[in-house]
Point group: C2
Chain length 363, copies 2
């Protein structure tokens, strides 16, 4: 295999192992639907690996991404971002061809959908109410249950819409730094979501599903109690952030950016690679040692069929548009030459894969 | 004009005004070549605005970008990143069709080029030695002049290569927070580069050009003394970072991301837009008030023909892949509804334009 410029290398074996592991956990849990989020890989080919293992539902993060996967035969799709009313034409097109699931967190969007969804959709468009249990990005606050009830009732009144349940994304799990902390997020999320469901049940609204989605909690719990659907996505590749949080091990990371070395500076203990914010994204994380990281570094295996363990005391310390600066120890720098390839394990594989869509190789 | 999803809006009038201003400054300076960096816009159409004003030289940040502009008639191109030996085939293709300028900061790359550049190139490939005056990304340290001399002599020995001069990028100008600090960076850069040139001259190497490139210093100085070429690029659009540094005014910013509002949260003083790290990039800056910003916010003008002044006490406070959270004051939030469009002035227009290549509208 030849690599000339920054290229995202995907290890199929590791990715499929990650998928299998999550799928087995879903199977162990009773009546839980697996709806993996495809915004991480955004690839029909990687989607096939899920399909071959029996997965039929998916979540995506835009109407465009939904259309892309719909074209290759995915027909049960959640657009897992709040409805953008300006894309109603695209939403109507999707609703004609697939079993569509949407997210709302306001009465006004429900009223908008009821008015603007075309009559003859394939079947009722399913609507989830997005709940904010603690992350504070989007969602109705879990303890303002009167608002949630009013919204659920408005959905149920609509001829176009079906009320599917309550959906949350515990993005605050990303602030955790141990498996224990992550498990607490899961327990707290399920507790709050169950409270809302019980309230709706008491008010006569039954068959209310609960959907959760973040990769840290989904990776760490032993089984999915208290929920009906899991929508995690990042786990297919994982990344350095998930490793630092505690939701994966280094050997689970299934994607790395192959970067040509263009400069060596032994006097300052730094190597410069061709591979910057335009390739990795500028996502960073501060690790347990207090280092602000933009990636970890490994050596490629022969013919780029994988990579070795990450190199000690070596990390991407800063990024500009096309350059990455790797800080390292003298022992390593002596072995590296201009024209070599180093593998960078990304901090956030979703953003890296998004940037590298045109330059990805699966091995 | 209709906007349904995150779209980069480019104000041609402002951009051309920015180009004209820089061009006039170049014209005021004696015998200075203007070689604007096109990595900011990466657009043949925007390139035409430069060409119409008489610009014929350009810098780009990759071999691919060079090929893209070469195809539309640009024939004097600097690939303004250190030579990546793995792309020698692409470099040879370019050298056949354009007047090519390359960057090196090591003897080994000079030797590599001498061996691997094909014989029958259009004319000698011009080589600049990259100098590190203080930024510490790439470049030979300006005070290790023996190394620089040896590299220059090696270039001059080659039949394939022409020694063009000394090139630097004062990226540390981005740490400045006032026009005075930026001017100091310029003065210091020119002083160090001139020292190196004088040394080479004394050693018998004459006709040594000096090329500088960062937007902050190029924006702030009154004229380009002491240099032969300026390669700034960001100034065509500018951005919030340049404004915070002190290299432009708000009204110079010529690109903004139109983002649909998908959530309103008056109780926490926040608005959520469809527009995240996948659109703006995750570049941030801490402003004089200590706020970590991912963008500033303005209202669109009628039919998206521009935007108003940025809204007081309102800024993009965090980004995930597709979402942006805007922190704002109660007075503004009351005027905003789901389905509205807000304009986000990006922190780093180069990275935003790179992400939005497929979704840019010029007005």
């Amino acid at each position: 295999m030849e690599i000339e410029k920054p290229t995202l290398m995907v290890d199929k074996e590791k990715a499929v192992r990650n998928i299998r592991r999550m799928l087995e956990k879903v199977s162990r849990s009773k009546r839980v639907r697996f709806r993996p989020h495809f915004k991480t890989h955004q690839s029909v080919r990687v989607g096939e690996w899920f399909r071959e293992l029996g997965v039929t539902a998916t979540a995506v993060s835009s109407v465009d991404m939904a259309s892309y996967f719909a074209k290759s035969g995915w027909d049960d799709i959640t657009v897992a971002i709040l409805v953008n009313p300006l894309e109603i034409n695209g939403i109507n097109r999707l609703a004609k061809s697939v079993n569509l699931n949407l997210l709302v967190d306001s009465l006004e969007t429900v009223i908008f959908l009821d008015r603007h969804l075309r009559e003859k959709v394939k079947e009722k468009v399913k609507v989830w109410i997005k709940i904010d249990t603690a992350y504070h990005r989007t969602g109705m606050e879990y303890d303002r249950i009167e608002n949630i009830l009013a919204t659920a009732e408005e959905i149920k009144k609509s001829r176009q819409l079906g009320f599917q349940g309550l959906l949350t994304h515990s993005g605050h799990a990303y602030h955790a730094r141990s498996k224990g902390e992550i498990r607490q997020v899961y327990d707290d999320t399920v507790k709050k979501m169950s409270q809302v469901r019980q309230y709706l049940n008491r008010k006569g609204i039954v068959d209310v599903e609960i959907s959760i989605g973040d990769t840290p909690t989904c990776s760490v719990v032993d089984a999915f109690y208290g929920v009906d659907e899991v929508r995690c996505g990042n786990f297919v590749y994982y990344d350095v952030m998930q490793m630092v949080i505690g939701s994966c091990e280094e050997e689970d990371i299934a994607a790395a950016l192959a970067c040509p070395v263009i400069g060596c500076y032994p006097q300052r203990g730094e190597i410069v690679i061709y591979g910057g914010g335009a390739h990795l994204s500028k996502e960073s994380i501060t690790d347990a040692e207090g280092r602000k990281l933009f990636g970890l570094v490994a050596l490629p295996r022969k013919d780029f069929q994988g990579w070795g363990q990450t190199i000690k005391d070596t990390y991407v310390a800063s990024l500009s548009q096309e350059h990455g600066i790797i800080k390292t120890a003298p022992g390593f720098i002596r072995r590296v030459n201009i024209g070599d390839i180093l593998m960078v394990l990304p901090v956030h594989s979703c953003l890296t894969a998004n940037l590298m869509k045109q330059s990805t190789k699966i091995f």
